[in-house]
């Protein structure tokens, strides 16, 4: 009896222990590490390299050690957009890149470097004086960490924490320094977690910017992404964004609207964009379905994503859909900023620092023609003060032979512009960790000072008077590819009020009608009916007559 009681007590204790364990999964990259170590096909174990067995005190020290073997890596990185945040679009002549464009999320980088550059592949970019020629300033770990512990907090100008520090400042919460020796000795290929550390959190939080990229994609199910399914194909980002010399293909500045090339053949000289669906699936991807031939007829007009990404933000994480800066700056009676949560309780619907937001999950995309050309509204460009200013405008039409219909997220906002120059303004919002100034909006809530400082940092004039203008920014949707069984069905587009209701320039059966054609159709149907009745009647009559 005692044994039974003892056994039950032990069972209870074990159950308690299980229940008491916090329901927090280990960091994804840590899980990946265990699997990677066991199944790694790498010919190098970085923990055995003498040069990495140092007590590293800073990121650049690690980089110098990396470069002692990977001698060309930093030079390669220096040529990429991930490093320069600068890109000259050869077609439009526009100078793009993160440091040049304005968006309608946190708006722009100038004057906010120390904060924004948490997502730069470098160390120390805190102002206009950053040394872009320094090899030691290249951050290898942000892409090659496999421990899941390497973090670059906002405000540290792209540096990891190198000592225990209170973060965010005055929060009472402490963060530990990155264990640089351990991280350096554990480096490996990029992963969904490392790319996602920045790309899942664009716009200032999880799922904010893209809609089809969020932390649910770190370990997605087949339902969420058929290619990245951890139990299936388990693609990493680099599987499609096949990288050569650290140059990562796939860009929203020069997207491929229509890839008319056949599937890539190994060994064949091919300069096409490797990130497109056609690059693997070719131009006739439907093989076994009953409707294969009919579906393949659609591929010259529809991007694969249009049917195969039925919704975005499908991972139970809502994406931000609107951001109204014009309501920012409200304070409590005692002058303190405040936050109001939205109906879900998970997101802010108002923040004194940023204004009003809305979030949405399972979002039905909007659909537009895209031919690969895109034009941005940059600082200095005129805005539409009476309507909506397009932050980026994708070109495309049904007749140019270069376009396909794409699903897009359209992010709508209101942001400041200069009443004198009639162009967008950059608010100086954030300061570096532990710093303080009189102009940062998130500290002082004074628009004039923040906009003046932002304009100065961006090298733009500021007339002193400002207002807010409605803006839209368009994001082509290309991730979160659903299993084929969940692709859109015919009637979801071929119907009145269907998905493609607003796509102009094409005749779509089911959606569109032509009165003459409809009349002729009904006339034919009526004639057939009359024919059947008359024929039947005559036969009945003749049979009775004969009988």
């Amino acid at each position: 009896m005692r044994k039974i009681i003892l056994a039950l007590a032990m069972l209870g204790a074990a159950a308690d222990a299980v229940l008491a364990t916090p329901a927090v999964a280990p960091p994804v990259a840590t899980v990946a590490t265990a699997a990677t170590k066991a199944a790694s096909k790498s010919t190098a174990d970085h923990s055995k390299f003498k040069v990495l067995q140092q007590d590293f005190k800073s990121g650049p020290e690690v980089t110098k050690a990396c470069l002692s073997c990977h001698t060309e890596a930093a030079k390669q990185i220096h040529k990429t957009k991930h490093w320069t945040w600068d890109y000259l679009n050869p077609e439009s002549g526009q100078r793009l890149g993160k440091k040049n464009i304005v968006n309608n999320f946190c708006t722009a980088v100038p004057s906010n470097y120390a904060f924004c550059t948490a997502c730069h592949v470098g160390y120390g970019w805190k102002d206009n004086n950053f040394d872009f020629t320094s090899e030691a300033n290249v951050d290898c770990l942000v892409c090659h960490d496999t421990t899941g512990t390497y973090k670059k907090p906002y405000g540290l100008a792209g540096n990891p924490a190198t000592k225990e520090m209170e973060y965010p400042p005055k929060s009472g919460r402490m963060i530990k320094p990155a264990d640089l020796p351990k991280i350096a000795q554990s480096v490996g290929p990029t992963s969904r977690a490392t790319c996602g550390a920045c790309h899942f959190y664009g716009g200032g939080g999880d799922a904010v910017k893209h809609g089809d990229l969020d932390s649910s994609m770190t370990n997605p199910s087949k339902y969420l992404d058929v290619h990245m399914d951890v139990k299936g194909l388990n693609f990493t980002c680099a599987t499609c964004h096949a990288t050569t010399g650290h140059n990562i293909p796939g860009s929203r500045y020069t997207p491929t609207g229509k890839d008319a090339e056949p599937a890539r053949i190994r060994g064949k000289q091919d300069t096409s964009n490797p990130t497109t669906c056609q690059n693997c699936h070719g131009q006739s991807p439907h093989k076994s379905a009953e409707m294969a031939a009919k579906l393949n007829e659609h591929t010259d007009k529809l991007a694969c994503q249009t049917c195969h990404i039925p919704q975005f933000a499908r991972g139970n994480i809502a994406t931000k859909m609107t951001w109204d800066w014009s309501t920012a700056g409200k304070l409590t009676a005692d002058g303190k900023p405040f936050v109001i949560k939205d109906s879900s309780g998970h997101h802010e619907s108002y923040n004194s620092k940023k204004g009003n937001f809305t979030y949405e999950s399972e979002v039905i995309p909007e659909y537009i023609w895209i031919n690969g050309k895109v034009k941005y509204t940059l600082l200095g460009d005129p805005v539409n003060t009476t309507g909506v200013t397009q932050i980026n405008r994708y070109d495309g039409s049904p007749t140019d032979g270069k376009s396909r219909i794409w699903p897009v997220k359209v992010f709508r906002g209101k942001q400041p512009y200069d009443l004198e120059t009639k162009s967008l303004l950059v608010p100086h919002t954030a300061v570096g960790y532990g710093e303080k100034d009189d102009t940062a909006y998130w500290d002082n809530f004074k628009w004039e000072a923040a906009l003046k400082a932002g304009a100065e940092a961006a090298g733009r004039p500021f007339g002193g008077k400002f207002d807010f203008v409605k803006t839209e920014m368009t994001w082509p949707i290309t991730h979160m590819v659903a299993p084929k069984a969940d692709a859109l069905g015919c009637v979801q587009c071929h119907s009145k009020g269907g998905r493609l209701e607003n796509v102009a320039g094409i005749y779509m059966p089911g959606r569109d009608s032509n009165r003459t054609l409809d009349f002729l159709g009904w006339l034919a149907a009526l004639a057939a009916l009359i024919g059947v009745v008359v024929h039947g009647g005559v036969r009945v009559y003749l049979s009775r007559k004969a009988g």
């Binding site: 919704q311 879900s344 309780g345 809305t358 979030y359 949405e360 299993p483 269907g498």
Partner: protein
Amino acid sequence: MKKIIVGFAVGTVLFAVVAWNMAGGLMFVERASPFGMDETIARIQHNILNSGTGWTLTGLRNPARAVQSDGGNVLPVIMVEACSTRYSGPILKDDSVRFLSILMPCKIAVYKKNDGKVYIANMNAGLMGKMFGPLVGDIMVKVAEDQQKFIVMDPSQPAPQMIVPKPAGEGGGGLAGGSGC
């Protein structure tokens, strides 16, 4: 005479066909919401709690969850469930209409459709109640009046917080306090 009988029979059949086709549409009511899923649900929940007619929230059910966990792609659907013992009590006490417990608790569905809009659907309690005699008819008329208050979407009012029930077993249901039915 024969013509009258035939005409009556044809008329009856035609009426039955039309009624049969329209019945589905009359039994349920669907309308678009000006808000997103979460806010629509939250507003309905708070309307229910503030109705002052004894209604309590009895659950928030997600019928899409099972399909999604099975690997299927379904647009969001949430059922807001509410109950008022003031109305359910008399029905549950009467053996002749006790089978109507199948309609309990009162449900309001909030879902997204392929046009990207959020919709609200509920049973036309007033019409349905009339089929089951005076007791149920009287009760259901009052339920229908309350239902109309539940689905008022007043943009001048700030968005309330959604009330998420604590998990209570399988099926995505769960009780949010209240008496239940």
